[in-house]
């Protein structure tokens, strides 16, 4: 079934807006992430990631994306960055390391880009600007 509501944010490149549709898709993935806010669950997850994931009604694709720490894939499968950040916290990663990991840059490249003023909006506003590349 299609929604007739406007989704003007579909044409922003490299960006997934966490709307109701994404939220439905990622419900259990995100709820799994929430569970990592308890120290006890973080320990259980670290001890056997696959076994812990299998306690959740997530899709196999979602589980694989978590195991691979592929955050872009997690987002495509309905994950939201604030939820996914709990995985990073469990791994001892900072928000900057997590954000950088999605850009195809090395950690140092990303850090340097931020120190020099971040990614410019120029050329990064519309999907067509990325397709032209």
């Amino acid at each position: 079934m299609n929604m007739a509501l406007d989704k003007p944010y579909k044409d922003v490149p490299g960006t997934t807006i966490f709307d109701a549709e994404q939220s439905r898709k990622g419900y259990w993935l995100n709820q799994f992430c929430m569970s990592l806010m308890k120290a006890e669950n973080r320990a259980r997850f670290k001890a056997d990631e696959r076994a812990y994931l299998d306690e959740w009604p997530m899709t196999e694709e979602q589980k694989q994306a978590v195991l691979a720490r592929d955050l872009n894939r997690c987002i495509a499968l309905g994950g939201n960055i604030y939820f996914l950040a709990k995985i990073g916290a469990t791994d001892g990663k900072s928000f900057q390391q997590m954000a950088g990991s999605m850009t195809g840059m090395t950690e140092e490249e990303y850090r340097n880009m931020m120190i020099h003023g971040g990614r410019s909006p120029d050329g990064n506003r519309y999907t067509r600007e990325w397709e032209d590349r």
Partner: protein, 286 residues
């Protein structure tokens, strides 16, 4: 004498800023320029300590999971604990609430057709505690009670800028009808430009941010009509947090026919803090 809003404060609430404070890194070359920008603010807070802070922020998948997502939630509890966001709770004082004023505001703005969720139990995350740290430093106790007001900016649709601005006006009216001589500050937090997700992560738009600060001061009613897509496209997917600043701005005297333009007591802007542009304003009512 009734309660009144004396000033509004605006600031980013980046988690890495909290970590830098908690780990004693504020003097490091990376962080020094950020904290230098808040030195004046800390002095101002000491000189102008309010009786209550009404603190607008967003929860970052901490108190609210996907089980329940309130658009606007007002904290009416007597106290709120700093949350464990996955790195352990921040070593900061617990937040003391103001149940009487919070309940009064809830009652008033619900009757003004804002469909709040009343919350009596909630842990508060960096969205609320980092602004307190920036403005108050590292005291043994926060200088006054705080009313947490959480806005959904995580799952779309988030409330429109216009809705936020009008809510600020309703909050002002509510505070002005509370029968106790309280000085209340209203804080709007989050932003400025940043994007934490996807191949476009790291987006910063200094031009947008500074124009936003200019217009927030000069013509917030017009600014409130900016559509969501402009924030997302120009200021990054997480730049949408800036709509929360419009709640604080909507509560100021000048946009409620109750005074002249506010005095800009302080303005600060810096890039970067981790993935984010840091913006900060202090506006005093006239």
């Amino acid at each position: 004498m009734m309660a009144r809003i004396t000033a509004s404060v605006y600031t980013s609430h980046v988690p890495a800023i909290g970590a830098a404070i908690d780990l004693g890194k504020t003097a490091e070359p990376y962080w020094q320029p950020v904290f230098a920008g808040y030195e004046k603010s800390k002095q101002w807070m000491r000189d102008n300590t309010p009786d209550v802070i009404f603190l607008v922020y967003n929860d970052h998948a901490t108190a609210f999971s996907l089980e329940m997502i309130p658009t606007f939630a007002i904290g009416c509890a007597a106290e709120f604990q700093p949350a464990d966001e996955g790195w352990g709770p921040r070593p900061v004082p617990k937040v003391i609430g103001h149940p009487e004023l919070a309940s009064h505001i809830a009652q008033s703005v619900i009757q003004d057709d804002f469909d709040l969720t009343i919350v009596n139990k909630m842990d508060v995350d960096h969205g609320l505690t980092v602004p307190l740290s920036l403005m108050c430093g590292q005291p043994a106790a926060w200088p006054c009670p705080v009313i947490p007001f959480a806005v959904n900016v995580v799952q779309y649709p988030v409330p429109s800028g216009r809705r936020c601005f009008m809510l600020g006006q309703a909050i002002r009216k509510a505070i002005a009808s509370f029968d106790a001589p309280l000085k209340v500050q209203i804080w709007g937090t989050g932003g400025m430009s940043h994007q934490l997700q996807g191949p476009r992560a790291g987006l910063i738009n200094q031009e947008f941010d500074n124009a936003f600060l200019d217009q927030l001061i000069a013509d917030p009613a017009a600014l409130s009509n900016k559509p969501h897509i402009d924030y997302v496209r120009e200021a990054g997917s997480e730049g949408i947090e800036l709509v929360m600043w419009l709640i604080a701005r909507g509560a100021m005297a000048d946009v409620n026919g109750a005074g002249a333009k506010p005095t800009v007591r302080h303005r600060f802007y810096h890039v970067p803090a981790s993935n984010t542009a840091v913006g900060h304003l202090i506006l005093e009512n006239n």
